[in-house]
């Protein structure tokens, strides 16, 4: 599909700007180009669930990253390491060559292997009564995945609140000691 190729080239340019730019705000906004381009590609490849999810996730990550990094002093760290850069570029060349060898083995773009999913598609609506097949899979057939998902969101929130609370206790304890002196 020609649309997918055009959007992928746009995303590669956005990723290059995000990595190479010296301004932090510019880098974070260029990361937004990559995320919103992926959202459009999901819409073109017939996955509207994921398109909505990716759009919302991208906006939230943009808000939090700008809140966290936007006010910081952007010290530009100069990097001139020819040996390390050349070694890394050679490694990435090897990665691309081997990935091309793997790409010719998997099924072509547009004709997937659908052994498991044809069972879900044929029987899923009759067995669960849900018209949305993605919901039927993530909430009925594979709901243990979803339990792990909820546990991950829970533990991330609790862990971050714990880190912050430890910091504030340390700073108030220092201030109390200083007031005593």
């Amino acid at each position: 599909m020609i649309q997918v190729r055009i959007l992928l080239v746009m995303m590669i340019i956005g990723a290059a700007i995000a990595i190479g730019s010296t301004d932090l705000i510019c880098a974070i906004v260029a990361l937004g180009v990559v995320g919103l381009g992926i959202s459009l590609i999901f819409l073109l490849l017939q996955a509207p669930d994921l398109a909505i999810l990716q759009l919302v996730v991208e906006i939230m990550s943009l808000v939090i990253m700008i809140r966290a990094f936007g006010m910081k002093d952007t010290v530009n760290i100069r990097e001139r390491r020819f040996i390390a850069t050349s070694i890394s570029v050679i490694l990435m060349g090897f990665f691309l060559v081997f990935s091309m060898a793997a790409i010719f083995e998997i099924p072509r773009f547009g004709s997937p292997l659908m052994k498991t999913s044809l069972f879900y598609l044929r029987n899923g609506f009759r067995q669960t009564g849900v018209p949305n097949m993605v919901s039927a899979i993530i909430l009925d057939y594979r709901s243990l995945d979803m339990l792990g998902q909820v546990v991950i969101a829970f533990s991330a929130a609790i862990g971050l609140v714990l880190i912050g609370r430890k910091k504030i206790h340390a700073s108030t304890a220092n201030r109390a000691e200083r007031e005593q002196k």
């Binding site: 992928l8 990723a15 996955a47 509207p48 760290i77 072509r108």
Partner: protein, 114 residues
């Protein structure tokens, strides 16, 4: 084939940022780009030519044979939110490092200080 190759190039750009850059924020951005490329590869594998969304609109339409792969989409739904949580944890750890050392440069972080 061209779509798969461009997706691999996007993955390599994220790998480059992790290997070369010395700024912590650039490393987090590289990790996010790798995660996007991985999600995209799943969906590219599950696309069927001329197919529709895997949602039934009535009791008989559309047929199950003309739908795209729903298992890949279900896996990516689980993946995206894990990626968001991981990005937030990395952001807060980077801010704590900035609070302790006063910089995002990873060469100054390996000093044993305090």
């Amino acid at each position: 084939m061209v779509e798969y190759f461009l997706c691999m190039v996007l993955f390599c750009l994220g790998l480059y940022a992790i290997l070369i850059k010395r700024n912590l924020i650039k490393i987090i951005i590289g990790l996010a780009i790798m995660e996007y490329a991985m999600n995209l590869f799943f969906i590219l594998l599950g696309y069927k030519k001329g197919a529709t969304v895997p949602i039934f609109s009535s009791l008989t339409e559309p047929h199950p044979e003309v739908m795209v792969d729903p298992v890949a989409q279900a896996m990516v739904v689980a993946n995206v939110v894990i990626g968001l949580a991981v990005t937030f944890i990395l952001v807060i750890i980077a801010i704590l490092i900035y609070e302790k050392y006063g910089t995002f440069d990873i060469r100054d972080v390996n000093k044993l200080k305090g």
